[in-house]
């Protein structure tokens, strides 16, 4: 019986992976991308490529100077057609990848959150739209770091 239930569990897992594997929104948590130490590795882990196209159609609202790196507000909006996802990376954090939001463009094109910056750094925003990775950057000076160091 044990072997049978194991087999069933395996089969169920395979079927689930097959059904959902092709959709980003249902992809498993990207452990490799979050553990990456460089922007290039994080992007390759998340998207399979690190080729970025800088874009004026991504607007970043964030302070130039943040007193507390543990809570840096950032807002992103984009008008790019075919919006798929918005990714936040903090270039000088130990693990640059902060978050990826897989978006429903009909519902939502503006997103704001708060990020931890270990030290002064550029924040890189990567928007995937129509299969292409577009990017915008903003430098933020931090007076007190936000990673507990």
């Amino acid at each position: 019986m044990k072997r049978r239930s194991l087999l069933q569990a395996l089969l169920a897992g395979t079927v689930a992976a097959g059904l959902f594997g092709s959709r980003d929104a249902d992809a498993a948590w990207a452990a490799d991308a979050f553990a990456a130490k460089t922007i290039a590795d994080a992007l390759k882990g998340a998207f399979g490529t690190d080729v970025l196209v800088p874009s004026d159609a991504i607007a970043i609202k964030a302070p130039n100077l943040a007193e507390n790196g543990a809570m840096v507000p950032i807002e992103v909006s984009t008008t790019l057609p075919g919006l798929e996802s918005i990714t936040f990376l903090v270039e000088r954090n130990q693990n640059p990848l902060a978050a990826t939001f897989y978006m429903s463009p009909d519902a939502n094109r503006v997103l704001a959150t708060r990020l931890k910056l270990g030290r002064s750094s550029a924040v890189l925003v990567v928007v995937r739209a129509g299969g292409t990775l577009y990017s915008a950057r903003k430098e933020i000076d931090v007076t007190i770091g936000g990673c507990g160091g």
Binding site: A107, N108, L115
Partner: protein, 106 residues
């Protein structure tokens, strides 16, 4: 399972014709890099996945690392919503703890 950790508010922005949603989750979002007063590393404890749905349809699915601030704040514009619609959010963290909340848009 965590309870009551999610607060959601919405306000209609007449000029833009969208609902502005503001939410905050109570969560420590420990990076695993911080040391406590005794000099011991505090283990990582952070939200990994967030799902937001409007009337059961996805608004976004998010994957998070440790660089989202403690007590995470999320704000976004929601298009095409009307009074009486349902908006739900849920999170799962790296210890498999989770919480969810649903509000009716006013």
């Amino acid at each position: 399972m965590a309870q009551g950790s999610i607060k959601i508010r919405t306000a209609f922005d007449e000029k833009a014709g969208v609902h502005v949603v503001k939410s905050i989750f109570n969560h420590p979002m420990e990076t695993g890099l911080r040391k406590d007063a005794a000099g011991q590393l505090v283990p990582a404890h952070f939200i990994k996945e967030v799902v937001c749905e409007h009337n059961g349809k996805p608004v976004f699915n998010a994957q998070w690392g440790t660089a989202i601030s403690r007590n995470p704040y999320l704000s976004f514009e929601l298009r095409g919503a009307k009074a009486g619609d349902k908006l739900s959010m849920r999170w799962v963290d790296n210890k498999d703890d989770s919480d969810s909340a649903e509000i009716v848009i006013g």
